[in-house]
């Protein structure tokens, strides 16, 4: 610094400031980068997530707590890779898949994404229906109204205006953390079960595992993370900031899911309450909110589901159109972007229609959607690995061996669990 003081012109000072910024992290830029990861994390605690974690706790107590740190780690791996690909290439994941795998590969990947996202949207509608059901609103009223509202919001592009409100509402699930401290669980046991993995010889255990992976590392979150980075036009030098965002978002998401399993495992499991509906899941919050548990749970469930249901069709349609080179974006009219708008409308219509089937088990749908998500996840993860380790595309930021191995572990784990799940079910356990 000594030589700088001699000719400390403003520009020289600014330059030295910039160089420092390159070496050390600039707190302002850290704050600026935070956000997309948080959104993804909070939207991740959607209907399917809450249903899966509640079920995990209710059925197996602390038995699946160990999955949380593992999932957190894998989530970081996947999301970090997505953000890094966005930073390096400036292109969306769908674009990269198309350019690397051609028409056939991208058709397969997009089909997987389309199915998985439609089922997740379906589960969001189920979440809205069962959440509003707690307030006595019947399904045949809540679902069409919600579908119409979401359709109008996404079509007119005015979704962004209410995004913050929905985000605030979905923060309701943070109350699980408070509830976790209030119910005074056996912390030692919880800590032990978090570290030591255990399995149960039960097909439901494995389907829950697959669902758990599917809801934590949802395919749509990969696309969302990468497109956020691309929209912000983050560059290679922004990668450290993106990493901070990814890690904080993933950790927050995991803490919430850990507490959901903890609370439901402590409150519902010993009582032998199976989570068959929103009332059962809401019962876990009773120690905290007493008679208001249902209101609290209902509001959170509806908010989070609504948020995710607004985001999902758009992400899907955008990815498909990006892969096949069709016009996309909320500011394009029907005439300009018929496919984009068509896909959004179709997803919303199909999801709403399925939820409206009489006597359908809403919580069952939420769980099933996460299983589908988990089963289809490997297709997209394989695409991701191949692209992320390609030095022609990623240059110096290509995946290292450890990252590759970890992603492969996720792929293989999901596949193995899926196979076990199907085999156990086929054997009729």
């Amino acid at each position: 610094m000594a030589d700088v003081t001699e000719k400390s012109t403003p520009t020289a000072a600014a330059e030295s400031g910039q160089q420092q910024g390159r070496r050390r992290l600039d707190p302002k830029r850290v704050l600026a980068a935070l956000g997309p990861g948080m959104v993804a994390a909070l939207a991740g605690a959607d209907a399917g997530g809450v249903a899966t974690y509640s079920n995990a706790g209710a059925m197996f107590g602390f038995g699946q707590l160990w999955t949380v740190p593992v999932m957190c780690f894998l989530l970081i791996v996947v999301q970090e890779t997505a953000a890094r690909m966005g930073c390096v290439t400036g292109k969306g994941f769908a674009s990269l898949i198309r350019e690397r795998f051609g028409v056939r590969g991208s058709a397969l990947a997009m089909l997987a994404l389309l199915i998985s996202n439609t089922t997740v949207t379906l589960s969001e509608f189920a979440g809205i229906a069962s959440g509003l059901g707690l307030f006595g609103v019947p399904t045949y009223l809540s679902v069409p109204v919600a579908a119409l509202a979401i359709w109008l919001l996404t079509m007119s592009g005015s979704y962004n205006r209410i995004e913050k409100i929905l985000l605030a509402i979905s923060c309701v699930f943070v109350t699980y953390i408070v509830a976790g401290f209030m119910v005074k669980p056996d912390w030692a046991q919880a800590a032990h079960d978090t570290v030591v993995p255990q399995f149960a010889n039960d097909p439901r255990f494995f389907s829950l595992l697959v669902a758990n992976i599917g809801t934590t590392i949802a395919p749509w979150m990969i696309f969302l993370a990468q497109s956020n980075v691309v929209e912000k036009n983050a560059r290679e030098e922004d990668i450290p900031y993106q990493r901070i965002d990814t890690v904080t978002g993933s950790v927050v998401a995991s803490i919430i899911s850990w507490f959901i399993i903890l609370v439901t495992g402590h409150v519902l499991f010993p009582a032998g309450i199976a989570v068959n509906g929103a009332e059962d899941a809401a019962a876990a919050l009773a120690p905290l909110a007493g008679p208001y548990a249902q209101v609290l749970f209902g509001v959170g469930l509806v908010g989070a589901s609504f948020l995710a249901a607004c985001v999902l069709p758009g992400i899907t349609a955008s990815a498909v159109c990006e892969a096949f080179g069709w016009e996309r974006g909320a500011d394009r009219s029907w005439a300009e972007a018929p496919t984009y708008r068509g896909i959004i409308s179709a997803i919303l219509f199909v999801s709403a229609a399925v939820v409206l089937i009489p006597n359908v088990n809403l919580f069952g749908i939420m769980m099933l959607a996460q299983v589908v998500n988990g089963v289809l996840l490997p297709v997209l993860l394989v695409c991701m690995i191949v692209i992320a380790r390609d030095r022609h595309i990623m240059g110096a930021h290509a995946n290292g061996r450890i990252w590759n191995a970890l992603t492969w572990v996720t792929v293989i784990a999901v596949t193995v669990f899926t196979v076990i799940m199907f085999v156990l079910q086929a054997l009729g356990f």
């Binding site: 051609g102 109008l152 691309v230 929209e231 912000k232 036009n233």
Partner: protein
């Protein structure tokens, strides 16, 4: 016809029928409209492709195999020439710009010429659905196209010829392109801006950097979204950015600079030439939405005494990027604007005529830099001008507002007015979504009515019977529709009257008038109540039905009065926001007014009921 999707992966045999590998890619020479295939990339057993010359080695080919005319051992590898492009690597699956259709598209397949001659040429890129289907499976394409034809809607091939392609990913500026090759650079700047707006931010920056600086500057001025333009500018090298600003018309540059953050703007201005910087700074000195802000200082000013010949000489020597000249402005000895000569008169006059002799005789129509841009635009339309001179208080010419800028202003103001009047700003975007939106907006009162009834029913649950609440809320639609109307009244008044106009009514006058209307309306509602009550009582006698109805209608009357009494507040808000140049939507104003009316209605209903009960 043969397609790249069919050729890729086909086996390559040498003259003895020995298989040496598979087709991996084709190289083309870029200098022609239908470029010749010059190189064949073969993926051998070693997985690494190698290139050989097409002309020298390829004997025959079709869509299932390629046969070479030499033996395996005689092949010499070649390298990619600078003017060659690999069509799989650089084109297939990539985004390109269709410079004729002016869109960004993705290449689904590449169409190659007939197999009959030994020469293979690239006919163009397939960007339509058929390319996707064919790449999935040629059978699928056949089935789908046949079905489509049977249904009477054949799917045409959408082919873009090489000379209408502009590659985005690969910079072709080093490649010598054919004379007829139309690149992005040659499009109109407005079209370039349209195309750029559809790209991802990174690609947008890269493509922008490839444009020639003059085109880039003009395209920058054409962006609909100033924030997007500012973002591109923020990503550019500072010296580059400041050079671009210098090349833009000063008024466009000023608009852009005002979008940048202060530090960046100052830095760029400091790097610019003195003259341009001064022009931009001067423009930035004027308030937003005034004539000063949108004028350009590039006007042709001559001395009164000069001759036509002098003026023509000056015109000839102007820079190419000088604002289009429609008028020559004359100044007197004290530099005041003293006359205007149209281009037509200038051309018709003899070279030695004095400019002051052929100048317009009528009174000069000028604007002040602080004038509202809308007024200036309207005057340009009114007096059929191509440019309006802007003069300071001493009459010295500062610049001109040209008709193209005036049109932009009118369009902008029209959109704002529409929005205040409760319409939609994006009028060209018709579609089901917008129709429904329109229905929702027009009938918002209905939904608020429902909501209000439900809320009141829930709040009073257990204390008041449900039917009396519902009966009372029968008066609510009146309150809501009147609230909606009061906003229409306010916005109409706002759009018709300019607060700066001397003969427009004052706020107090408006308040008195709207209060009067509110009173009349409220009395009407009460009158209706009396009629209702007479009928109901003769039918059902005194009772809860009639009293609930009464409460509702009294509340409706009160809320009606309140809606019109508060109208001046909304007018004030509109004026305030207009001064701050904020956009206001008439719909949100209506919503606010209706919710206020709902609140007033509920409170009055409650109070009246309590008083009666006591």
């Amino acid at each position: 016809m043969i397609y790249l999707s069919q050729m890729l992966g086909e086996p390559v045999y040498d003259v003895n029928g020995e298989k040496i590998g598979r087709v991996n890619d084709l190289g083309i020479a870029t200098g022609e409209v239908f470029p010749r295939v010059t190189a064949l990339a073969v993926e051998g057993p070693g997985k690494t492709p190698f290139m050989i010359s097409w002309r020298k080695y390829v004997g025959s080919f079709d869509d299932c195999e390629v046969r070479l005319k030499v033996v395996d051992t005689d092949i010499r590898f070649s390298y990619l020439q600078p003017d060659e492009v690999l069509i799989r690597r650089d084109l297939l699956n990539k985004q390109i710009v269709d410079t004729r259709g002016m869109r960004v598209v993705r290449v689904n397949d590449l169409k190659l010429s007939d197999t009959s001659s030994s020469q293979l040429r690239l006919l163009g890129a397939e960007v339509g659905a058929r390319g996707i289907l064919r790449s999935l499976s040629p059978h699928l394409e056949r089935i789908v196209t046949r079905c489509a034809r049977a249904l009477g809607k054949p799917i045409p091939e959408r082919i873009i010829a090489w000379n209408y392609m502009d590659l985005l990913d690969r910079d072709l500026s080093s490649v010598k392109l054919s004379v007829t090759h139309k690149t992005l650079d040659e499009l109109h700047p407005a079209d370039i801006a349209d195309i750029l707006e559809r790209l991802d931010p990174r690609l947008r920056g890269q493509v922008f950097a490839q444009l020639e600086s003059e085109q880039a500057a003009e395209a920058m001025a054409e962006f609909d979204d100033d924030a997007m333009a500012a973002e591109i500018m923020g990503d550019m090298e500072e010296s580059e950015a400041s050079r671009m600003l210098s090349e833009m018309d000063p008024d466009d540059a000023a608009e852009l600079v005002s979008e940048l953050d202060y530090e960046k703007a100052e830095k760029l201005l400091r790097l610019m030439g003195v003259k341009e910087r001064k022009a931009i700074r001067q423009l930035l000195g004027y308030r937003e939405n005034t004539a000063g802000r949108i004028m350009t200082s590039e006007a042709l000013i001559m001395d009164e005494g000069a001759t036509v010949g002098d003026a023509v000489e000056r015109l000839r020597n102007l820079d190419d990027d000088f604002e289009t000249v429609h008028y020559v402005y004359l100044k007197d000895d004290e530099k005041r604007l003293s006359g205007i000569v149209t281009l037509q008169r200038l051309v018709k006059a003899e070279p030695d005529e004095r400019l002051s002799d052929i100048s317009i005789e009528d009174e000069l129509i000028t604007a002040n830099p602080d004038d509202d841009q809308e007024d200036v635009a309207e005057n340009i339309a009114k007096y059929n001008l191509l440019a309006m001179p802007v003069v300071d208080d001493n009459g010295v010419l500062l610049g001109i507002v040209t008709v193209d800028d005036a049109l932009d202003v009118l369009e902008e103001e029209h959109a704002e007015d529409l929005q205040i009047a409760g319409g939609s700003t994006d009028g060209d975007q018709s579609g089901n979504g917008h129709d429904l939106m329109w229905l929702l907006r027009r009938n918002a009162w209905f939904f608020i009515w429902m909501l209000g009834a439900v809320v009141m029913a829930i709040v009073t649950l257990g204390r008041v019977s449900l039917e009396s609440v519902l009966l009372a809320s029968a008066g609510l639609p009146i309150a809501l529709i009147v609230a909606d109307d009061s906003i229409t009244y306010v916005t109409n008044f706002f759009l018709e009257n300019d607060p700066d106009d001397e003969d427009s009514p004052s706020l107090a006058g408006f308040a008195v008038r709207s209060l009067g209307i509110g009173l009349v309306f409220a009395l009407l509602v009460l009158l209706m109540l009396m009629v209702f009550n007479t009928i109901v009582r003769t039918q059902y006698g005194m009772g809860s039905i009639s009293s609930s109805l009464t409460y509702g209608f009294i509340a409706a009357a009160a809320s009606t009065l309140a809606s019109f009494a508060t109208a001046p507040i909304y007018l004030h808000i509109l004026h305030r926001r207009d001064e701050q140049n904020k956009e206001t939507s008439g719909f949100s104003l209506s919503l606010v007014a209706m919710f206020v009316a709902l609140a007033v209605f509920a409170v009055v209903c409650y109070v009246v009921a309590r008083i009666v009960m006591v």
